[in-house]
């Protein structure tokens, strides 16, 4: 039984390092393929629409409520301790630095990361990726780079929308339910607003976008075993990219603010 456990842990660890190595190789291949990005740029545009434009309704919906709830919660915690003119400050910082990027990334990981893994996984098990190769077309160039570029560019843009909408949501709740005037909320927001906070949030979004696209593609390419395998890859893509987003969030925060 002891040996069983050891070999179980051993095989899990081996799998983990194989995956780390595999992702590193994939990232290297992406970088080497960047010079050819503008050949077949229409593929990148398609992915930008899918990842960016089509995610927008969901992101807006999530962000309104994120802003609203952070307004309510902050007001509750401020009650009797902190003057309400700091409500806008607190909500603004929380949204721009943390909530906007992380929640947007988690939502996109669920929607887009899953779709990437499912699509590429299906292509893998139905030999479409092999077929691309026999046509002398590099799947990294044709499939991965467009998704990666769209991920790292569209996530920051989505986060900008998310920040804006969340702050609006917070403002409305502040005015209607917490009885803080719009003027007070906005001047609080402006008081300690640093452009560097916004850029920190957008930098996170850039990294998160890279994580979602890379993990989605990696899991897709790794798929074996038919429809069941596609299901497994899809789940893994979402779980792994979500975990990595949270870990990366912590790492980036400790570098930028630690």
């Amino acid at each position: 039984m002891g040996m069983g456990l050891v070999s179980y842990i051993g095989s899990k660890a081996l799998g983990f390092f194989t995956d780390v190595g595999g992702v590193a190789i994939l990232l290297k291949a992406i970088v080497f393929n960047l010079p050819r990005l503008f050949k077949n740029f229409h593929l990148t545009v398609e992915q930008m629409v899918f990842i960016g434009v089509n995610s927008l309704p969901l992101i807006i919906f999530v962000s309104i409520f994120t802003g609203a709830v952070s307004s309510v919660q902050a007001a509750y915690q401020f009650h009797n301790y902190v003057p309400m003119r700091y409500l806008g400050t607190a909500v603004g910082k929380a949204v721009v630095i943390e909530l906007g990027p992380v929640l947007t990334a988690l939502v996109v990981a669920g929607r887009v990361g899953a779709a990437i893994a499912a699509e590429l996984g299906t292509m893998k098990v139905t030999e479409q990726i092999d077929a691309l190769e026999t046509l002398a077309i590099d799947p990294i160039h044709y499939l991965v780079v467009p998704r990666f570029i769209s991920g790292i560019t569209m996530l920051p843009i989505l986060v900008l929308f998310s920040d804006l909408v969340a702050i609006l949501g917070a403002l409305v709740v502040a005015v209607v339910f917490v009885d803080v005037s719009a003027h007070t909320f906005l001047s609080g927001l402006k008081m300690f607003f640093h452009l560097s906070d916004l850029f920190a949030g957008l930098f996170k979004a850039f990294i998160f976008g890279g994580i979602i696209a890379t993990i989605g593609c990696y899991q897709g390419f790794k798929t074996t075993g038919g429809a069941e395998g596609v299901g497994t890859s899809t789940t893994k893509a979402v779980v792994i990219s979500s975990v990595l987003i949270l870990v990366a969030d912590y790492v980036i925060a400790s570098f930028l603010f630690g």
Partner: protein, 248 residues
């Protein structure tokens, strides 16, 4: 000329190719026959570099292509066309885009010329009016023919056919046999076909090779196959469940 020398390949414990030796002459059609699961598709995939062997060499005009990477592999593959057993059509693209992909990617031909070539290839495989249809809407036999049109779109020197006639009605199957023969006679294409269809193998082949237990155990012309005493080959072409080859 393609020379396959002592090719070995295992997947885990499953020894699929166990020392394959086979020479494919230029301008000829060589057909590989053998049991289901016998490694025919795996062998084809080695020839186009989709699968790397555990050991052994594949020489094309004297160069070992199993060592090819990146640029060289890309160049090599442009000389090949491959029809997949499963057709492997891109399901996000229309039939027209599937067939034209290689041309759009590797040539600078104007769009109307590419459309013209695609239409011509689709006509060759007996398809009309499906240009703008997605593969999901096609029957299995139609998919196979689109796959065939895609394989020949770039006028390759070598064509690998993985079960070109499986899933086609007998009349269409014969039309495909005829097409394979024409590719050879008119365009001097070198072909390797994999098939279970013995009638087709007799028609299209200059030589037939049988793979059994990971090795090529017999190579000969269709006449030699018909008259051989080799009990394994006989059992296979006659389709008998009893004999040296165990059915189950």
């Amino acid at each position: 000329m393609i020379e396959i020398v002592d090719l070995h390949k295992s997947f885990g414990d499953n020894k699929v190719l166990d020392g394959v030796n086979l020479t494919i002459n230029k301008g000829e059609t060589t057909t590989i026959i053998g049991r289901s699961g016998g490694g025919k598709s795996v062998l084809l995939k080695h020839i186009i570099g989709l699968v790397k062997p555990d050991s052994g060499r594949i020489l094309i005009d004297g160069e070992d292509i199993t060592l090819y990477k990146n640029e060289k592999l890309v160049k090599l593959r442009q000389r090949f066309g491959m029809l997949f057993q499963s057709s492997a059509l891109f399901d996000s693209m229309t039939v027209e885009e599937n067939v034209g992909l290689g041309l759009r990617e590797h040539t600078k031909l104007p769009e109307d010329e590419i459309r013209g070539i695609v239409n011509e290839k689709l006509r060759l495989v007996g398809l009309r009016g499906v240009e703008d249809v997605k593969p999901a809407e096609l029957s299995g036999g139609m998919k196979k023919r689109v796959g065939l049109a895609r394989a020949i779109a770039m006028n390759p020197e070598y064509i690998l056919y993985d079960e070109p006639t499986t899933g086609l009605d007998p009349i269409m199957a014969d039309a495909i046999n005829y097409l394979i023969i024409r590719m050879k006679n008119e365009l001097n294409v070198t072909s390797i076909a994999v098939t279970h269809d013995i009638v087709s193998a007799y028609k299209i082949s200059n030589r037939i090779a049988m793979i059994y237990e990971g090795k090529i155990i017999f190579v000969g012309t269709p006449e030699e196959v018909k008259s051989t005493d080799d009990p394994i080959v006989r059992q296979f072409v006659e389709g008998k469940a009893t004999g040296i080859i165990k059915a189950v």
